[in-house]
Amino acid sequence: MNMKFVVVVLLMLLLGMFLGMQMVKKNDATALSINVAPTGGDFVLQSKYGEFDLKDYRGKLVLIYFGYTFCPDICPTNLSHLTQALNELNETELSRIQPIFLSVDPERDSLDHLDNYVKYFHKSLIGVTGDELTIATVAKKFGAAYQKVTGESEGGYLIDHSSFTYLVDQKGQLKESFPHASDPLLMVKTIRNYLNN
C-alpha cells in the first residue's frame, strides 16, 4: 500500500516537472517570438540631446538599429556596414536622413556613453534608449526581439537580439528591413530610391 502511494506521488511529481518544463519552454518561445509583419510606429525615447520623438523626423528617412554597446561582434559589424553606406552619400542626402542606434541595454548604456559610442561610427548617428517597458513596446512595433543571456564571464550578461536595420520613410512608415551585414552599396541604392520618391 505504502509502495503504491510512493509510486503515485513520484509519478505525479514527474508529471508536474514535465508540465513545468513545457511551460518554461513556451514562455521562452514567447519572449523570443518575432513579429513577422511588423508595422513600426511612433515612439519617444531619450538621447543625450534630450527627448527623441520619431514624429519630429517626418520628412526624413530614419534608419533604426536595435543593439547595445557591450556587443562586440554583431553591433559593430552592422554599424560599420551602415556607416559605410552613409559615407557613400553626399551632404545633401545625409541632411535628409537620421540614423539611430537604439540601445536595448539601458542598464549599462548611459546616454553619454551611448553618444560617445555612436559618434565613433558616424557623426550623424544618434544613440537613444529608455526604460525597459518603452523599449519593449518599440521593439514589438518593429518586430525586433532581444533576450538577456547571463554568462559566466567577467562581462556579465549578453543580449541576443535581432540584427535588422529598419528604414522608416518620410511619412513615418516602416518600409524596409536590411538584414545583418547587408551590402552597404545595396543599402545606398535603397536609401536613394526613398530619397528620390
Partner: protein, 156 residues
C-alpha cells in the same frame, strides 16, 4: 687536417639539421593569418578579435581559449544568426576543434574572440599580443593589428 674536414662536416651537418628543424616547425605548427581587432570607441568594454588559424599538425588540435595582458578576460564565442528571423545569438564556446590541415576562420558574424575590459588603450595600428591556448597545452602567441572595420569591408 682530419680536424678541419670533420669540422666542415660538422658545420654542414649543423646547417642541414637546423634546416630540418625549421621546416619541421613550419609544418608541425599552428599558422595564423589576418589577425585583427576592429577599432572601437575608447569607452567600450567588449571588443572582438578575428583571425584565420590553420592546423599544420598531423592531428586534430582543439582551441580551448585565449589570454592577453591587454584584457581582463578573453572568451571564445560564436555568433549564430538565424537567416529567417535575423535573430543573432552569441554562444560561448569552451572548445573549437581544428582538423589536421584545416583552417578555422574567426570572422565578423561567426567565431570570434570576445575581448573584455581592456587594460590599456586599444589604438589603431597598435599590435595587441594574444596567446591562443590549445587543449593539449600548445600555445601560440599572435599579434593582432587594430584597424578600421572599413578595411575589412573593402577587402571583402
Amino acid at each position: 687536417m682530419w680536424f678541419v674536414i670533420s669540422n666542415r662536416f660538422f658545420s654542414v651537418g649543423l646547417i642541414l639539421f637546423s634546416g630540418m628543424l625549421t621546416s619541421c616547425s613550419v609544418q608541425d605548427d599552428i599558422a595564423v593569418d589576418n589577425a585583427w581587432i576592429p577599432e572601437a570607441p575608447p569607452s567600450v568594454s567588449a571588443l572582438a578579435g578575428y583571425l584565420d588559424i590553420t592546423n599544420h599538425f598531423s592531428n586534430t588540435m582543439t582551441l580551448s581559449g585565449a589570454e592577453s595582458a591587454f584584457f581582463k578576460e578573453v572568451v571564445l564565442h560564436q555568433t549564430v544568426v538565424d537567416r529567417e528571423t535575423d535573430f543573432a545569438r552569441m554562444i560561448e564556446q569552451s572548445t573549437v576543434t581544428i582538423q589536421a590541415g584545416q583552417t578555422l576562420k574567426l570572422n565578423p558574424g561567426g567565431y570570434h574572440l570576445m575581448l573584455l575590459n581592456p587594460r590599456q588603450m586599444i589604438n589603431t595600428e597598435r599590435l595587441i599580443p594574444i596567446i591562443l591556448l590549445f587543449e593539449n597545452g600548445y600555445q601560440k602567441k599572435v599579434e593582432f593589428k587594430v584597424r578600421p572595420f572599413r578595411l575589412h569591408l573593402e577587402a571583402n
